[in-house]
Amino acid sequence: MAKRNIIEKAIDWSRRKSPWIIHFNAGACNGCDIEVVDALTPRYDVERFGMLLKGTPRHADVLVCTGAVTLQTRDRLKRIYEQMPEPKFVLAVGTCACSGGIFEDCYCVSGGMDTVVPVSAYIPGCAARPEAILDAVVKLLTSLEKSQKAIDN
């Protein structure tokens, strides 16, 4: 593996320090969405980690997705994911997003988030707590740092 230069290292560092998120509801009951919104309030202060909520997928790095993917939203989810510029990550928030939850094998549901887009981190819970969401983001960033360090060594 070739040694990476300082510019690539700086870009890696900045990616860990500034994950901008976009929130998408793929068919959740709104429970997890309330928790995601809760995690964005001043009480939890996600800006400590450099996270900002962005409205457009063009500006976002992390797609925070809730709910089992219904057949209605499947194409929309795929399109939102494709509209995001590389590199991008997907967080599956809540049990339904992880596996389909109680909607598994339902006639109108495609299943968990990973049946449509590649998922970077799963956050179980019904609904997932804001602390769990923040913990997942921090773990995702730490694992990113580890893999970046592993490339260097």
Partner: protein, 312 residues
């Protein structure tokens, strides 16, 4: 020649402006966070955002005018940086002062608004189009009060030169108190120009996603963000030079005073950002024409009358 190039590219030109823009963005965000009783971003946050956006993929939509789409962010940054060269930094004199540079600076500061309009309009997105129309609607409401508020101190000082105004008010420091209505109008109109919170309906992320910048990503968006942050620095420097006429002969001391002045203006703007909610575009237009413009006209009348009375 070499000195002029150094001045334009390094200090007080492009490099200093970029670094100070990132620093002021941090101060703004940190103050906003502290006023909301949270910890806020770390000091390197604006830098990390900037580098990250530079390193990201840049998506250009298929049906846009590609050269113009790519050129607009650079054009914005260039206009803002050129405006900065005519604003005094460490003394009463700016880098290249001439009679009428106040008008040139105001004109150059209007260019970003027009490029925001073009950016949204050309990106072939519905949200972008709505944001663009709002940007221009807002331009027509704050621009007239802002121009009148910044030009009425010039009437009293009898010069269109920013450094001339600075010298005049340094010689007569108490006269600046007469410009208090103009200062209030300018601070409110500046928030419209910078599209900050009470007047941020052009890029209201909760209703029209991101307004004009909805299709911009990666490197192009990074330059746009840098231009917006730099615009804050230029506007704060301009307001500081006109409304806080405190300058020092010693360049180091003068530079410290300059930092203090811009920080005060950014602090005022951050407080407004945290205590206000967004107002609708029609409310914004009504407020500007019904209250701000008459107040600015009143200031001009006061200054015209005082010019005959005061010993100058």
């Amino acid at each position: 020649m070499a000195l002029a190039i150094f001045n334009i590219l390094v200090f007080p030109g492009f490099l200093f402006l970029s670094v100070y823009a990132l620093a002021l963005e941090y101060v703004d965000r940190k103050m906003y966070a502290r006023l909301q009783n949270r910890k806020g971003p770390p000091w390197f946050q604006p830098l990390a955002d900037f580098i990250k956006l530079l390193g990201k993929e840049t998506i250009i939509p298929a049906d846009v005018d590609k050269p113009v789409f790519k050129l607009l962010p650079v054009f914005t940054l260039a206009a803002v940086t050129s405006a900065f060269l005519y604003v005094p930094i460490w003394g009463t004199n700016s880098l290249f002062p001439f009679e009428g540079d106040l008008i040139v600076v105001l004109y150059l500061l209007t260019i970003p608004t027009l490029t925001f309009f073009l950016a949204g309009w050309l990106s072939n997105s519905l949200y972008g189009a709505i944001g663009s129309v709002r940007t221009v609607t807002q331009l027509f409401s704050y621009e007239v009060p802002l121009f009148m508020a910044l030009l009425s101190p010039a009437i009293l000082a009898d010069t269109w030169k920013i450094s001339g105004m600075a010298e005049f008010y340094q010689a007569h420091p108490l006269y600046i108190l007469l410009n208090l209505p103009a200062f209030i109008v300018a601070i409110i109109a500046i928030q419209g120009k910078l599209e900050r919170v009470p007047f941020d309906s052009p890029e209201a992320e909760t209703e029209i996603v991101a307004g004009s910048f909805v299709e911009y990503s990666g490197r192009l968006f990074a330059i746009f963000r840098m231009a917006i942050a730099a615009e804050l620095v230029v506007v704060a420097s301009l307001a500081g030079a006109i409304f806080f006429p405190v300058f020092a002969a010693n360049p180091w001391l003068g530079f410290l005073i300059y930092l203090l002045k811009t920080l005060i203006i950014v602090a005022i703007l951050a407080v407004f950002k945290s205590i206000m909610a967004r107002i609708r575009i029609d409310q914004m237009v009504m407020f500007c024409w019904r209250y701000l413009a008459p107040l600015a006209i009143l200031q001009i009348i006061i200054n015209l009358l005082l010019k005959g009375v005061l010993p100058i």
